[in-house]
């Protein structure tokens, strides 16, 4: 415990100064403003469903929580249940096994809800398109609000995508 504490103290803050990742910072600010505009103020809660990806997208999404990207500071957080979530992020082509789980997660989300397809697999089916094991892209099952292309998209792209998502939502 003490050793851990010592390590923590020795390391100090490793988050890159805002100036270095200025564009990310700006982007996050935009997002937050958009969200505030949406319903008069909210923190965004994300539920992620891996519908059959290579886990590449998951690595990138995980990176959102690390000290570098620290999505927390923008009011973005991942939650444990779709019932708590505002945004559903889906990665990978939807496999037959995961189709039901994906729809169930969507069903469980209270309105207003935003569906974001993360990665090429989720958008088009990618290289697994037309496979017997794949139902199709996410859009074949759910109304996708935003598509974040890339294989995988970098964390930064993901943040941009989320901004677009909220924008599209506020247009509705």
């Amino acid at each position: 415990m003490l050793r851990l504490l010592a390590t923590v103290l020795k390391t100090g803050s490793k988050a890159e100064p805002v100036s270095i990742v200025a564009d990310e910072h700006v982007l996050g600010e935009n997002l937050r403003k958009a969200v505030t505009a949406l319903c008069g103020g909210r923190a965004l809660r994300i539920r992620h469903v891996d519908a059959g990806s290579t886990n590449a997208e998951e690595y990138e999404l995980t990176a959102l929580g690390n000290a570098y990207y620290d999505a927390d500071r923008f009011g973005l957080s991942f939650v444990a249940s779709p019932r708590h979530a505002d945004i559903l992020t889906v990665s990978g082509p939807v496999t037959r096994s995961m189709a039901h789980a994906l729809v169930a997660a969507y069903e469980a989300m209270p309105e207003p809800r935003i569906v974001v397809a993360v990665g090429d697999g989720a958008i088009t089916g990618g290289i697994w398109k037309d496979s017997y094991a794949v139902v199709g892209p996410v859009s074949s099952l759910l109304p996708v609000d935003v598509e974040i292309p890339g294989d995988p998209p970098s964390p930064r792209v993901v943040l941009e995508g989320l901004l677009a998502a909220v924008r599209s939502a506020s247009r509705k």
């Binding site: 504490l5 909210r42 923190a43 000290a67 500071r73 469980a108 309105e111």
Partner: protein, 313 residues
């Protein structure tokens, strides 16, 4: 005056409860070398939940819908009943320690009912664990509170605080350090914090509190989260008011000192919780027995200490 203070105390607690949660998160982020969200994010978050729709499972009954209100009302009562910065203002018949313990148990029971009414194994599992913890924590809770009460000669939380306020550092808090330590262990259990539960977990198998609210959404979820925040705030503030009994509001106290010490305690309490959560790991659930019996033994040791002081061996 007393009535005013009574209401003021409750309202302040209710207002600041989400801030406590935000602060804890903030400090935790700093411990993780992150910048973290702003401390007032929980307010935003709660409000946005309030503005959302709800989805409810088809297998739940009226009980499921009652739970948020019951928990919210318990939180309300606790906010008014547990003294946080002023003593001598709560009506004695409302600030009895057994009543507070009973309200904690009552809240746990309802939360568990909510978890059981989801027809989902996640909720059920959390319910079973929460119930186990709530049941087994009782002896330590009562013995540690009773130890303080014994030293204070009063069985109201208010009276305990008044007693502490009137004592010097070495005459008051020091003999009670064991009892306060036990109380801290109990408070961590009651509020589902480390090492009993991980409030930020996404893994259902390690959840206790979170598992029970997985099925709640929208305003109901907001009520539940708010209730949890209030509970954390009142327990922590009360605990630290006992430990740092300075600048407590009473007739003739300087408002500036009161505000200053209140802020100190508030921040310090959040910091301590975040600190604990950053430096220790969650225990296996099936080792909770050790943790809770440790709490009981610490509480009993505290009683012995107080007895020794009281009967001056």
């Amino acid at each position: 005056m007393n009535g005013m203070l009574f209401i003021l105390q409750g309202v302040v607690t209710l207002m600041l409860a989400p801030l406590m949660v935000g602060l804890v998160r903030f400090f935790k982020a700093r411990f993780q070398n992150r910048r973290g969200a702003v401390p007032w994010l929980p307010y935003v978050s709660l409000w946005s939940l309030f503005a959302k729709d709800m989805t409810i499972t088809r297998y739940s009954s009226w009980v499921f819908r009652f739970v948020p209100f019951v928990l919210a009302s318990i939180a309300l009562v606790l906010a008014f009943v547990v003294p946080t910065f002023a003593y001598g203002v709560v009506p004695p018949f409302l600030s009895n320690l057994f009543l507070v313990g009973g309200l904690f148990a009552f809240g746990s029971a309802w939360l568990v009912l909510g978890g059981m009414d989801t027809a989902s194994a996640f909720g059920n599992m959390g319910a079973s664990r929460e119930m186990t913890l709530a049941a087994l924590v009782e002896p330590a809770l009562y013995v540690s509170l009773a130890t303080i009460a014994f030293a204070a000669g009063s069985w109201s939380l208010d009276g305990m605080l008044a007693h502490e306020a009137g004592l010097s550092w070495h005459g008051g808090a020091l003999p009670l350090s064991f009892a306060l330590g036990a109380l801290l262990l109990v408070a961590l259990t009651e509020n589902a914090r480390y090492p009993v539960d991980n409030p930020a977990t996404h893994l259902e198998l390690t959840m206790v509190h979170e598992a029970m609210v997985l099925e709640y959404s929208g305003p109901y979820l907001a009520l539940l989260e708010y209730a949890a925040a209030v509970k954390l705030t009142v327990t922590m503030l009360f605990l630290f008011a006992l430990a740092l009994p300075f600048g407590l509001m009473h007739v003739g106290a300087s408002p500036l000192a009161v505000v200053f010490w209140y802020i100190v305690r508030f921040v310090f309490a959040s910091f301590i919780v975040a600190f604990i959560e950053s430096v220790i790991v969650k225990m296996r659930f099936y080792r909770m027995q050790e943790y809770l019996s440790l709490a009981l033994f610490v509480a009993l040791a505290g009683l012995v200490l107080v007895l020794m002081q009281q009967f001056s061996f």
